[in-house]
Amino acid sequence: MRTLWKIGLALSLLVVTGCWDRREVNDMAIVIAMAMDKEPGGLYRLSVQVPLVSNLGGPSGGGGGTSGDKSYYVDSAVGKTIREANSTIQSRMSRHLYYAHHRIVVIGERLAKEGFSDALDIVSRFPENRLTAFIVMTKGKGMDLLIAQPQFERFSGEAIRELVKAESIPVTIKDISQMLNTPGVDAFLPIFEDVDSHPKGKSKEIQSVGIGTFRGDKLIATYTNYEIAGLRWFHRATPLNQNVSLGQKETLSIAFQNAKANIQPAIKGGRVHFNIELHGSAYVTENHSSLDLSLMKNCKLVEDKLTQKVTDDVKKVLEQTKQTRSDMIGLGIVLARNFPKEWKDKYRNTWDKEIPRITYQIKSKVQVVDIGQTTKNIMKEERL
């Protein structure tokens, strides 16, 4: 009997320690997206986007006390730290802020310029946050992106998430922390903006507008998507559609199927040299010229033009890299893998000074594998 009591007491230890973190879903404010901004005076502004679940179409009857037809709302507060801002928001929110489902972190322009790594510390430190959330930046205030109401999705956070996967180069919290901590690669973030749809309606749509590049955690340059199209070759994103112009008015539209970049570094006479090989396959989506693409020579012509274009794109990225000394491709990592000793001894600590001195050679090969259902523009006669 005594032993039974003892066993019972021991077993009850398993049970009586429970319940402390019990939280019903209707006592939670599920944060879908959050934005971080820098305010004057070194303060941080945290904005959270929280769905109003009672407006999401639960069962009829009963119901919460929220009004209006908006399915979410955005609250924001300032503080010396992000957590302080969070506490301020929480102090006027009847439900517990729950960050485990946030999928988007938006960095405001000012925060990006002044360095965002301090603000991100909480995201990687606090276990509720997920490292797989995407991180983007915006021009202007991060909060504006959360307030935008896109037409298709219920929350702008959801829209940003879908867009960053489809239209930009996705960067997760995990990626950005690796980019910030690894010597030999610098960070970049996709830029999103809220824009009016055309014709102008009630909604504000979210648009992927470009890429911002960083040195350390500070923003140094922003580019439009086309200015930095070459970057996509190195980050497993399908390259953007291209226009190939033949002469003045004749244009072909090309889309890429596969793209692969291969970087081979070499150290020649104290200078780092990169051989960059690009392989891609593409298909023709539109043909405004009178070319008959069923002919090998015409196809070849398009391929040559395209190859030239791709080379130019990548060259532009490399020139920007040299100019801004922000290694967004990760050339340093490639060098480190191939020449670990030299990297450790020589380049590791001075890589950003070394970048402007690098040389490179680009070889590209793009194949047109699919010319579409028709061979030439059926509206036109061939003149070439």
Partner: protein, 534 residues
């Protein structure tokens, strides 16, 4: 001397008062018929169905026939008793009557009142003749019994449609029809002080483990209870662990299931008065199998078995996991699913665990009501349950729709388990799992699952580990547990049962057909050539 003995008999008869058959052991059939009549009349005073038919010769009673009205086949007994009407002098010896006069196939000599009355109360007719210390019992029984029907508890699509009935002789005959072999042994026993229920322990000699057979007999012999009204009594009295929720004895009302179990080396226990035949030793996986698995194509049977294993887990843990995830581990759900659940739960006044308990208890009540009520009313209950409890509770915002889905899935899942008693065990364990999930989340579910698993691994049924052949692992037997191997591959009986004569068939039987290349006739290809010629 003679006078004294008589006095003794009188004393003996007077000393017997309101006793059960057990107490009559050792009381002999008296040579004087009057004593016998006196004893019987005393024992069966106020028994209107008990008949003592007297046969007289020269004004003195020389023989009596004793039977219970309604238990005998009146017509046949009449035929047999005709011979007693013409009993001649010198024929008053029961041996002569048995061997020369009575045209009855089943006839037994008894000399003890226990045996005599046991036979009579089971439906035999006893004949006691003046001057004999032995009596005859004629096995001409004819009590009313149900006809053989399709068993309602174990329906099949493909397979025999006969089920056991309440009469033990009919049941054993149905088994004997399946197993026409002298190996099929049927040891009988009687249990129950007042019911004197007949039991038959059936097994295949040379296949079943003799130790198991012996253990079964020993445990049954040890039973001392006043009544056995169903095989469940026996099950509870012979099982290894009384307080386990898991059944350690399987029952079936299908002759083919019982025959299959015997062929695997198990032992069956028939109990008179119930169609449910017990099968031991029982393992857990056996309860997950239906007899139809062996009649259908093996691929289908394998898939169905895995479906059952899946739904076994679902029926056990789904409500617990739902409660755990929605109260502790919200990060485990996809965001959109969490939002849907949050929207559905928005207006619900109860915490998830209370909601789950309400719904599960309501479901169990509905199920129970559906079983007990007459069929016509049962339908009304299901309509009430589905419409009122299901739809209205959701619309009124008392129970959330996801919870209704969880409970329905759990209910359906528990019905996929072919043996009802195994399903009951899982249904019971669901509740502690739910409660611990509400306290400790998934950690609690894991702890509880480990406790359950440990308990199951600890269980034994007649010396056989409950989880065998998985734990302890015997790889060869997994052929009939994880999958249902085709018969041509399933050459051996389960080894964990300690069977003798393990081979079911010669090896390579399936290959013989395959090697013929599908040809007709004796030697495959050559025969097709001959066909071509003609």
């Amino acid at each position: 001397m003679d006078f004294k003995r008589k006095d003794k008999t009188k004393e003996l008869i007077e000393s017997i008062n309101a006793c059960s058959l057990m107490d009559l052991e050792g009381i002999p059939v008296f040579s004087k018929l009057a004593d016998n009549i006196a004893l019987l009349k005393k024992l069966f005073a106020d028994c209107s169905d008990f008949v003592i038919r007297e046969f007289k010769q020269k004004n003195s009673v020389i023989a009596i026939a004793v039977f219970v009205d309604g238990l005998i086949d009146t017509h046949e007994v009449n035929q047999a008793l005709k011979t007693l009407m013409v009993l001649e002098d010198g024929d008053e010896n029961v041996r002569v009557i048995e061997e020369v006069l009575l045209p009855v196939s089943q006839i037994t000599r008894v000399n003890d009142y226990k045996q005599l009355l046991q036979a009579v109360l089971s439906g035999d007719t006893a004949i006691i003749v003046e001057g004999n210390q032995e009596a005859l019992t004629l096995g001409i029984r004819g009590a009313e019994k149900r006809s053989v029907n399709e068993p309602e508890g174990e329906a099949v699509v493909r397979g025999p449609r006969e089920g056991f009935i309440e009469n033990i002789r009919t049941n054993t005959s149905m088994l004997r029809r399946k197993l026409k072999t002298p190996r099929l042994k049927m040891k009988s026993a009687v249990v129950g002080r007042e019911t004197n229920t007949n039991l038959v322990i059936a097994y295949l000699d040379g296949i079943a483990d003799p130790q198991v057979v012996e253990e079964v007999s020993r445990r049954i012999d040890r039973i001392d209870i006043d009544a056995v009204l169903e095989s469940g009594y026996i099950e509870e009295l012979i099982q290894d662990s009384t307080y386990s929720p898991f059944p350690q004895v399987m029952y079936s009302e299908r002759p083919d299931t019982v025959a299959g179990a015997l062929l695997e080396g198990r032992v069956a226990i028939f109990v008179d008065g119930t169609p449910m035949v017990l099968i031991v030793p029982t393992t857990f996986w056996m309860l997950m199998q239906a007899n139809e698995d062996y009649f259908e194509r093996f691929q289908m049977a394998t898939l169905v078995r895995w479906l059952r294993y899946l739904f076994l887990i679902i029926s056990l843990v789904t409500p617990a996991i739902y409660v755990a995830i929605t109260t502790y581990h919200q990060q485990m759900l996809p965001t959109t699913l969490l939002l849907s659940i949050a929207a559905a739960r928005e207006a619900i006044p109860f915490p998830a665990i209370v909601e789950a308990l309400i719904m599960e208890v309501a479901f169990e009540a509905l199920r129970e009501a559906g079983i007990r009520l007459p069929k016509t009313v049962g339908q009304a209950v299901s309509i009430l349950g589905a419409l009122v409890v299901g739809q209205a509770a959701v619309q009124a915002g008392i129970v959330s729709a996801p919870m209704v889905i969880v409970v329905s899935i759990t209910g359906i899942a528990s019905f996929t388990i072919p043996h009802f008693n195994a399903a009951i065990a899982l249904r019971m364990l669901r509740f502690p799992l739910m409660i611990i999930a509400s306290i400790l989340g998934i950690y609690g579910i894991l702890v509880m699952a480990l406790i359950i698993l440990g308990h199951m691994a600890n269980l034994r049924s007649f010396g056989v580990p409950y989880l065998s052949p998985l734990a302890p692992m015997s790889v060869g037997d997994l052929k009939d547990t994880l999958i249902r191997a085709p018969w041509s591959n399933n050459e051996k009986r389960p080894s964990f049962l300690g069977v003798q004569n393990a081979r079911r068939m010669d090896s390579g039987f399936g290959d013989q057909i395959q090697s013929k290349g599908g040809g007709k006739g004796g030697s495959g290809r050559s025969s097709t050539n001959e066909e071509g010629k003609t």
